[in-house]
């Protein structure tokens, strides 16, 4: 009895620390983004708990920072660039990745193992390692500093990842289910749509989220390959900290705007992230 209570306390403590560690910076960001520039740095004295609560939650809110970034500056254009680059790269990487993953999972191709390893090996090197060759190639193709170039760069990295991730999900679907659909009168594509896709939806959902996050949060590609005409949010927000000033309020407001789409996407896709559907449909 006593030890189980101790366990509970310990568990609570660990969870509490974890929440503190992950949530406090976000609360700080949210509250700061609704403050005037001066208020952000009026920190409460050490030990002034009521002051801390006031600092984080009970302050007089204003939309100054949001007005500033949305009305006076290229923020909207950066937001649009981020949206377009992310959406296009996901729209290409996920369906193409799905088709490739299906082929790698089902088709009898000689040397399939090596092909698969080659695909995932391209994702093993850190992006920075290939930046110089990519830069030269992009320059040669004339797609440097363009949206096409940026999207292609994201696809280059997202595609192998999406193949790798979804192949695991497809492998887990017994091919007999597809064969049953063939016998029931469906073509290969029909069987894929009716049987395989509904079962791997959690995997596709996870792939969409992870690929989106990679493109949405990317700084490196956008900085080096993107250039001025295709500045994305991370670059735009980064530029708010310049040699002469650091616009903390705007940075916080920009950060808040930036995390909202990913949270929304996560909430939408969460519904389909229910795994364990195949359990028990086969014997055993």
């Amino acid at each position: 009895m006593h030890s189980s209570r101790l366990k509970q306390v310990r568990k609570g403590l660990v969870i509490g620390l974890f929440v503190l560690w992950t949530v406090v910076p976000i609360i700080f960001m949210i509250s700061s983004s609704f403050k005037g520039t001066g208020d952000i740095f009026t920190l409460p004295a050490i030990g002034d708990w009521w002051g801390l609560m006031k600092f984080l939650f009970f302050f007089s809110a204003s939309l100054t920072q949001f007005k500033e970034i949305f009305l006076h500056g290229p923020f909207l254009a950066h937001l649009l660039h981020s949206f377009v680059a992310t959406a296009l790269s996901v729209i290409i990487s996920v369906p193409v990745g799905l088709a490739a993953a299906y082929a790698l999972s089902r088709a009898r191709i000689p040397g399939k193992k090596h092909l698969y390893f080659w695909v995932i090996s391209t994702r093993m090197a850190p992006p920075i390692a290939v930046m110089v060759p990519l830069y030269v190639m992009w320059q040669t193709f004339g797609i440097l500093h363009s949206m096409v170039g940026l999207v292609l760069a994201y696809v280059t990295f997202n595609l192998p990842f999406s193949i790798w991730l979804m192949r695991g999900f497809i492998d887990a679907i017994p091919s007999e289910l597809e064969e049953a659909a063939y016998v029931d009168g469906k073509s290969r594509i029909g069987a894929f749509i009716d049987v395989v896709f509904p079962l791997i939806r959690p995997g596709v959902g996870a792939t969409v989220i992870l690929c989106s996050m990679f493109a949405w949060n990317d700084y490196l590609f956008a900085l080096i390959l993107g250039g001025g005409r295709t500045k994305t949010l991370p670059i735009g927000i980064g530029e708010l900290a310049s040699a002469t000033s650091i616009l903390w309020g705007q940075i916080m407001a920009g950060g808040l705007v930036m995390i909202i789409p990913m949270v929304v996407l996560g909430l939408i896709i969460r519904k389909s992230l229910v795994t364990g559907l195949t359990m028990g449909a086969m014997r055993g």
Partner: protein, 382 residues
């Protein structure tokens, strides 16, 4: 008409020949069982008929139409898989309705057909459940239900009941046979269980190592096995084999083994002659005797009775299996449960000469039932 014809069908996986030049004729409305041990090519054969495996060489036709290059969806077949292969994201109703939905059957008709099939299989109360909520036996019924909602040309079944427990399996054997009578359609059924095959089939195709061994009615498979493989595979317990020598003693044909001598009966002799086999002096043969044909006695009643010793007894309720040491050979005999003996007791064994089988020791082929048209195409009947 939905007869299924396999002509010189070969299946190779790389350098491995899984099915060797198979010729097989399954008549319209016949219940055919492909029987054999695992790896004998029976499942590959069924999958080739279904179109789930390519045919390396040869020809398969269903209802007179060659289907070598026809996609499974266009072959008008229904299949029950060993693993059931139910769609996990669909309810039982939707699983069974699926083949009809694919064919764009009107809703009310789907409803009526699914409910009718569910009624036959006694699964009406599970229609709203998902496969994961069903037991093995229920899943298996749903899988059969999905196959019978429409009227395909041929039903293909790949060991559909092999994963059920013994009691349910025996129940389902009867159900499936009844279903065949009710639907009056062609069934091709794969099994490694000879009891299933004997109980359900109109004809059994026994396969081993990719080759068709014998294709005949269950009765003939049991009573007239063409080789030692078929003789040993069918029957429980299997046939006893005694390596013997066929020779002449005076002017009488006899079989000698381990110090025993068995006269060849007139009937057996005429069977050998009728089969066209010439009598060979000192031919090494294998004498086969089914456990249920051998008679055990505690007293010698005939000069031909062979003295043996009880090795062990296995009482099985209504009968018992007795292991007897006969010279250096151990044979199994099926005896009445009242046969009261203990290990090491002396007993006498009578091999009824009319019931024994003779196989050539070199070729393993039967001397009295030689193989003729193994494909069963010419016989064209049951």
């Amino acid at each position: 008409m939905a007869e299924v014809l396999l002509k010189d069908v070969v299946k190779e996986y790389g350098s491995v020949e899984a099915v060797k030049k198979l010729n097989l004729c399954c008549n319209d409305k016949e219940f055919l069982v492909l029987l054999g041990p695992s790896g004998c090519g029976k499942s590959s054969t069924l999958r080739m008929i279904a179109g789930l495996e390519d045919i390396t060489r040869g020809q398969i036709s269903i209802g007179g139409v060659v289907v070598n290059d026809t996609h499974p969806s266009k072959r008008d077949i229904a299949m029950v898989f060993e693993t059931y292969a139910l769609y996990p994201h669909k309810t039982v109703f939707e699983n069974m309705a699926y083949p009809l939905r694919v064919r764009k059957t009107p809703g009310p008709e789907i409803d009526q057909k699914v409910r009718r099939a569910a009624e036959i299989l006694e699964i009406e109360s599970f229609l709203d459940r998902y496969p994961r909520q069903l037991s093995g036996g229920q899943k298996q019924r749903v899988a059969i239900g999905r196959a019978i909602v429409r009227e395909p040309k041929v039903f293909l079944m790949d060991e559909p009941i092999s994963h059920l427990d013994a009691k349910l399996r025996s129940h389902m054997r009867g159900e499936l046979k009844h279903l065949h009578k009710e639907l009056n359609q062609t069934f091709i059924y794969v099994s490694h269980d000879q009891t299933e095959a004997m109980a359900m089939a109109d004809r059994i195709a026994v396969m081993n190592l990719g080759e068709l061994q014998q294709f005949d009615t269950p009765q003939n498979i049991f009573n007239k096995p063409v080789n030692t493989f078929v003789a040993g595979f069918v029957g429980d317990p299997p046939m006893n084999f005694l390596p013997s020598l066929q020779t002449l003693e005076g002017d009488k044909w006899v079989l000698k083994f381990d110090g025993f001598t068995l006269k060849v009966s007139e009937k057996l002799r005429s069977q050998i002659i009728a089969s066209g086999t010439k009598f060979q002096q000192d031919l090494e043969v294998i004498l086969g005797a089914r456990p249920e044909h051998i008679i055990l006695k505690t007293e010698r009643t005939s000069e031909e009775d062979m003295a043996g010793k009880i090795y062990i007894t296995e009482p099985l309720g209504s009968y018992m299996i007795v292991d007897v040491m006969l010279g250096g050979e151990r044979i199994k005999v099926r005896a009445d449960i009242g046969f009261n003996v203990e290990p090491d007791d002396r007993v006498f064994v009578e091999l009824p000469p009319d019931k024994i089988q003779l196989f050539n020791a070199k070729t393993s082929n039967s001397i009295i039932h030689p193989m003729d048209d193994v494909s069963g195409c010419a016989a064209n009947g049951q």
